[in-house]
């Protein structure tokens, strides 16, 4: 079983791209007792080396990214409001009215009262340039006491469980971090390297340098991916569905995955009685895009937890998918490391 308590702790931390410190610190503290060597690289990736019972036949790297989408303060107005840019792919329809946290201060993204809007304005999402964050400052000077330009801004929302569903902020990709951290804490058959990456959401930047440094022959990327199994979305557009197991894609917008590993994942799932699904639409992308073209090429597979409302203040995953993703990742890891890559 994957560790929901750890997931909750990881989701309670802020780690907007470029500011992943709190998440890294938590993982470093947690995993140091289980690692043979643990280091932070120049960009802030956390690299965890751990020996298993045997030397591997294939050097394997398993990664998850620590960063989350959010906002960054670009300007403070004379009235003490904060102007911002988005960090990572945020749908501007979900910004208006949300509570945010900036440098330890609560704020809100305000919108014009509906009473004062005319016709079309009421039906349109507000452009990012027309939104601002209000932290309660009376003027610029008071705001500057609390916040600096370049401070990152995270969404405020809780963690809750209802039935077999988990709802939280930043499940993308703290769910992956929790799964990979779980593997680090387990007994390994073979030596492996685990990487917690920075800056995935702004262009797979952490994974690129981590893969260079680690020089793996094969990689497993543990992620969250868009599930659009919602009322009103046709079957052909749902991408994947909650409750139908981890998602192993053959292709997305960043990567054509290793075909043998793709098939291996489904075979291992079948043999071990796990549900497993693939992406039924070429959508999204993840650190695999940077990893599979590292140095002379890395055979790469991805295991993703299906997640509704990715990149919004509150996502939703199914606990059984999260558990099965951890089991499948462990099975894949052992099989890949135990067989020659070429």
């Amino acid at each position: 079983m994957a560790d929901l308590k750890l997931l909750e702790e990881l989701c309670s931390l802020y780690g907007v791209s470029g500011n992943e410190g709190p998440v890294r610190q938590k993982l470093c503290d947690l995993l140091t007792p289980f690692a043979d060597r643990i280091e932070t690289d120049a960009l802030g990736n956390l690299l965890v080396y751990k020996q298993g019972k045997q030397r591997p036949k294939t050097r394997l790297m398993i990664s998850a990214h620590m960063d989350e989408v959010g906002l960054i303060v670009t300007h403070i107005t004379d009235d003490g409001l904060l102007k911002f840019a988005t960090v990572g792919g945020i749908d501007n329809r979900i910004l208006c009215g949300k509570q945010v946290m900036v440098n330890g201060h609560y704020g809100v993204i305000g919108g014009k009262p509906v009473h004062l809007m005319k016709g079309e304005e009421r039906e349109k999402a507000v452009a990012v340039d027309d939104l601002s964050i209000d932290i309660g400052a009376m003027n610029r000077a008071q705001a500057e006491q609390a916040v600096s330009l370049g401070d990152t801004v995270g969404f405020v929302s809780g963690f809750d469980r209802f039935g077999n569903k988990v709802r939280a902020r930043a499940l993308d990709d703290r769910a992956g971090c929790a799964i990979v951290a779980g593997l680090v804490q387990s007994e390994l058959a073979y030596d492996m390297t685990f990487v917690f990456c920075v800056q995935e959401e702004i262009g797979l930047r952490g994974a690129r340098v981590a893969a260079y440094q680690v020089q793996p022959q094969a990689a497993i990327v543990v992620e969250c991916t868009t599930a659009a199994d919602l009322s009103g979305v046709g079957a052909g557009k749902q991408v994947c569905r909650l409750g139908e197991g981890p998602v192993v894609p053959f292709m997305d917008r960043s990567t054509i995955y290793d075909r043998e590993y793709y098939e291996l994942a489904f075979r291992l799932a079948r043999e071990n009685g796990l549900l497993c699904q693939t992406k039924q639409r070429i959508a999204g992308g993840n650190d695999a895009g940077a990893i599979h073209v590292s140095r002379g090429g890395v055979r790469t597979v991805s295991v993703s937890v299906p997640c509704r409302y990715l990149h919004s203040p509150m996502g939703m995953i199914a606990q059984e998918d999260f558990d099965a993703a951890q089991t499948l990742t462990a099975l894949l890891a052992e099989h890949i490391a135990g067989h020659p890559a070429v």
Binding site: G97, K98, R122, A143, G163, K237
Partner: protein, 346 residues
């Protein structure tokens, strides 16, 4: 500011969708028990709550009103997949709905998320926000599970925790009009135990957001000799012109309009000047869009005034006020009662 903030926190936790104000009413009663145990409480069939202080035989019977309900939504059905259909209940700003956590008041309180289609599926229509009737709430339940817990007509409210911001500013769900409710409760606290030569009825009215039905029947029942309504109004913010707004933190907004009573208004202003309280004028060309519109024409007519707490981002999840503005509004109301017993003798 501590008293009014504590009151706000207590009453903002309780839901009060129009027509389903029960929990909010209970929260108000619990606060009254603490801050003004002398008040005589009365519930009516429309969901209104009144609290009476002072002399019920006096010629001067003041009514202070603040509406207890907040904008909300209502469940209209359940889809094959177990998602909920919605309709607005009051002037919901649909732009804040996608991706927002909500509470659904079914057999028990359930949490859900208003579905937002992922950006990669919006086919270039990302600028358009669907009407509320075309949105869904995801409870993470199957249809059968959802039908066990939820029925059409159950209330849905946006889930927002109250938060302290810088200085005396706070954000919370439904500050429209829990800010006004807090003002009345704080006023009751200031007046509790003091000898009063007039009667004061605090009215926590239902159903304002769908047409002021609560205040209409309660004012008939109370038969006041004059009334002051406390609500919220637009505070200056981006996109809101100065002639339609007041400044947050710069004092209460005293309404003046053809539909309001000029003597009540003048007296409110005179008291502010006397006590050195900051105030701002809010001028409206006809009616006010508040309970003052219906209270003023109750029975043979009631001279009615209006005070508003400036509030930013009205009808969104980001409603924000400055507690100073609310505190001085409460003090103004208390002074209004205590000085001259509320008599309108010029």
């Amino acid at each position: 500011m501590q008293d009014i903030k504590e009151i706000l926190w207590e009453i903002c936790k309780a839901p009060g969708s129009p027509g389903q104000e029960g929990a909010a009413r209970q929260a108000v009663k619990a606060v009254l028990e603490k801050v003004c145990p002398q008040a005589v409480l009365n519930d009516d069939p429309m969901g209104n709550l009144t609290a009476f202080l002072g002399d019920k035989h006096s010629q001067n019977q003041l009514l202070f009103d603040a509406h207890l309900d907040q904008i909300g939504m209502v469940v209209t059905g359940i889809t094959e997949e177990g998602f909920l259909h919605l309709a607005p209940c009051g002037g919901v700003d649909r732009r804040v709905l996608p991706g927002s956590p909500v509470d659904v008041y079914g057999k028990e309180r359930l949490t859900g998320i208003v579905c937002c289609q992922p950006p990669h599926l919006s086919d270039g229509k990302a600028e358009k926000v669907e009407p509320v009737e075309e949105m869904y709430v995801d409870l993470g339940l199957s249809r059968a599970q959802a039908e066990e817990m939820v029925r059409p007509g159950d209330a849905v409210l946006l889930h927002v925790e109250p938060r302290q911001m810088l200085g005396a500013r706070v954000t919370a769900a439904g500050l429209d009009n829990r800010a006004g409710v807090a003002v009345l409760l704080r006023c009751a606290q200031l007046l509790g135990g003091k000898p009063l030569s007039c009667g004061v009825t605090f009215l926590f009215s239902s159903r304002e957001e769908i047409g002021c039905e609560g205040a209409r029947v309660a004012a008939y029942q109370v038969q006041p000799s004059q009334a002051v309504v406390v609500d919220v109004s637009f505070a200056r913010q981006p996109g809101v012109p100065p002639q339609k707004s007041g400044s947050m933190g710069a004092g209460m907004m005293i309404g003046t309009a053809p539909s309001l009573d000029a003597c009540v208004t003048s007296r409110l202003i005179a008291l502010c000047k006397e006590h050195g309280w900051d105030y701002q004028m809010e001028v409206m060309g006809g009616r006010t869009g508040t309970n003052a519109d219906v209270i003023g024409i109750t029975r043979a007519g009631v001279p009615t005034g209006l005070i508003s707490v400036p509030l930013r981002y009205m009808h969104t999840t980001a409603e924000t006020i400055d507690c100073k503005d609310a505190e001085y509004t409460a003090q103004l109301l208390a002074a209004y009662v205590q000085e001259k017993g509320g008599a309108l003798d010029g």
